[in-house]
């Protein structure tokens, strides 16, 4: 008689129950090498941490008192320099009485950025909201409307400038990068050549030289009497620079799309642009999320280079605040730690967000 095949019914995986001690044993003291490393690292922490806490907390000077700071030099941190100078560091040369304007403008833009990260808000009106946010940002910063006192763009500075330059150059560079990446793979030799020359040219020079050209050389080629705002020139410089790198990232994604996807799209009668928009780009861009976000983070930090063309964004504003002030100049380290914390907050948020996006796009595809 034949056996009847009886499949085993599926059951849930066993729940892992384990306490603190097994965890420690497995992760920290698995063998003698592992254990030794743990002991050494704990010892190192015990040696360093008290000193650090002493310097940063117990011996530190918090009020904006230059003499007290001077007295504590070498033994305690002078956080007073931040208490004293934070407004110059955050807002740069922007007129003191008007600094509520960049404050609102920056909060607004950061809020808009955070909203844009939420999937639920990915609707057509998000674009309209961004137009409004940008209009309000530039209205508040520049003035000249609604009775606001005009403020020249070369006085803009600090965090508002950093956030604005990074946001706009990323927003503008991304679509350009996609077009250039597609262009580099085009069948039309003219378009392909233009894209290759653009990418190779930009990748062959440092950002500083691009900014230098945008700021000092570009005006020489303009007709007499015609000027373009330095902020716009710098923004275009960063955008063109960033787009070249991003284009190569996007191209990497494009190359990973199997040829069969294109053939299927051809067979269904989709046009070139329909194929790119509906089939190729959604898959290609999902694949390059980590390296793309890597690039965004690096653009955010690269904005600090605009200092060399006399725009004082966060890093520039810090030098501005301390270099000319003999009394506070010795406490640059503390001030740098302050802007480090600001940069880190933004960059860490971006990197965490990238992880979330990665998960989103992979969830969509498989179980």
């Amino acid at each position: 008689m034949a056996d009847t095949f009886q499949p085993v019914a599926p059951r849930p995986a066993p729940v892992r129950t384990e306490g603190f001690v097994p965890w420690v044993r497995r992760n920290l003291f698995a063998d003698w090498k592992n254990g030794l490393t743990t002991v050494l690292l704990v010892a190192l922490a015990l040696v360093l941490l008290p000193g650090l806490a002493d310097w940063g907390l117990t011996q530190a000077v918090f009020p904006a008192n230059a003499e007290a700071c001077q007295a504590a030099r070498g033994s305690g941190a002078c956080w007073g320099v931040i208490t004293e100078k934070w407004r110059v560091i955050i807002f740069g040369r922007y007129p003191y009485e008007q600094q509520w304007r960049p404050e609102i403008a920056t909060v607004l833009m950061v809020a808009a950025l955070m909203l844009s990260c939420v999937r639920w808000f990915w609707k057509p009106w998000l674009a309209l909201m961004w137009l409004a946010v940008l209009a309000v940002f530039f209205g508040l910063m520049g003035g000249g409307v609604l009775g606001l006192e005009p403020v020249r763009t070369d006085l803009w500075g600090g965090l508002p400038l950093t956030v604005m330059l990074a946001t706009l150059s990323i927003f503008l560079a991304f679509p350009l990068a996609v077009l250039v990446a597609l262009g580099r793979r085009s069948n039309l030799p003219a378009i392909r050549t233009v894209c290759v020359v653009y990418i190779e040219l930009i990748r062959g020079v440092p950002l500083i030289s691009v900014l230098f050209m945008a700021s000092f050389m570009f005006p020489l080629f303009m007709p007499q009497g015609m000027t373009i705002d330095v902020l716009v020139r710098v923004l275009v410089g960063i955008t063109l620079f960033a787009a070249a790198y991003m284009a190569e990232i996007v191209r990497g994604g494009l190359q990973a799309i199997p040829k069969g996807q294109l053939e299927a799209a051809d067979t269904l009668g989709l046009s070139y642009w329909q194929t790119q928009r509906k089939i190729v780009l959604p898959q290609a861009l999902a694949m390059v999320v980590p390296s793309m976000m890597n690039n965004f983070i690096s653009i955010f930090k690269d904005t600090s280079l605009v200092t060399i063309v006399s725009l004082y964004e966060l890093t520039g504003a810090l030098s501005l605040a301390l270099n000319s002030d003999v009394e506070w100049r010795p406490f640059k380290i503390e001030a740098y730690l302050f802007i480090t914390a600001i940069y880190f907050t933004f960059c860490f948020a971006m990197s965490r967000y990238s992880l979330w996006v990665e998960k989103q796009v992979s969830v969509a595809k498989t179980r």
Binding site: G260, E263, A264, D266, T267, L268, G269, L270, Q283, A364
Partner: protein, 247 residues
């Protein structure tokens, strides 16, 4: 033949300068005819059917599909692709779209159907391939056989006059081959013109009007399945058949 829907006249094709992949192909396919093409790998059988919807270009001769001469002309290619559906060995479903979206994409963007109508048509085709309950899933959540049936449904959504199958069961587990062949047989029973590259000789015997054997870019022999399997004329055909039917 007046009722020809596809005709090849002295078609030659090369890959690069050296590889002569199609040699003097003459072939006429009648409306509603079901053709199975077989042959060793590299014999040009896939290339032959891929010429019909201009996935491959050819250098010499003439290919006419439903009255349109295939040339470099983009309009001609577009017109032909509207009439020709294709199913691939590797399914080539779009993994980032649901099954339903895979099916409605072309009807909406190429055929300009409203969404509701496109979805209705898609569901009809999914029922036809017996997979309607999977409409909301993503392709990679389905088995190979299910994916291939979705691919067939996707091609049918554009109401083609001709269906091309390029080794549709070669990437499937043995247990799933039958479900795909069943769908194809049904389609054949409904009068679809079909050109099918496959080594499923059972399918050829049951469904095909004509079996074509290719080797080294040439059509070696073509005949009705009965004649082809029982009285092969060429030695090359006999040799091939002994290898694939022998065990």
């Amino acid at each position: 033949m007046s009722d020809a829907i596809v005709s090849f006249e002295k078609v030659n094709k090369w890959y690069g300068n050296a590889f002569h992949v199609l040699r003097d192909i003459d072939l006429t396919v009648a409306r509603g005819e079901r053709i199975v093409i077989c042959g060793p790998s590299g014999s040009g059988k896939s290339t032959l059917i891929r010429c019909i919807n201009a996935l491959e270009e050819y250098q010499e001769g003439r290919i006419t599909v439903d009255g349109t001469l295939l040339s470099d002309d983009v309009k001609a290619i577009e017109a032909v692709r509207k009439q020709v559906g294709m199913v691939f060995q590797q399914f080539n479903l779009f993994p980032h779209l649901t099954v339903l979206e895979n099916l409605t994409l072309a009807p909406m963007w190429v055929g300009h159907l409203p969404k509701a109508e496109a979805e209705e048509r898609a569901m009809q085709q999914l029922k036809r391939v017996r997979i309607a309950e999977q409409a909301k899933k993503y392709p990679l959540q389905l088995s190979g056989g299910q994916q291939q049936r979705v691919a067939i449904a996707r091609a049918l959504c554009l109401t083609p006059k001709i269906m091309l199958f390029d080794e549709p069961t070669s990437a499937l587990d043995p247990e799933m081959i039958k479900e795909v062949l069943d769908v194809m047989s049904e389609l054949a029973g409904q009068g679809m013109t079909m050109l099918c590259v496959t080594h499923e000789m059972g399918f050829a015997k049951a469904v095909a009007d004509r079996v074509i054997f290719m080797d080294q870019g040439q059509i070696v022999e073509q005949n009705s399945p009965h004649e082809f399997f029982n009285n092969p004329r060429s030695d090359r055909t006999k040799d091939f058949l002994s290898k694939i039917l022998g065990h």
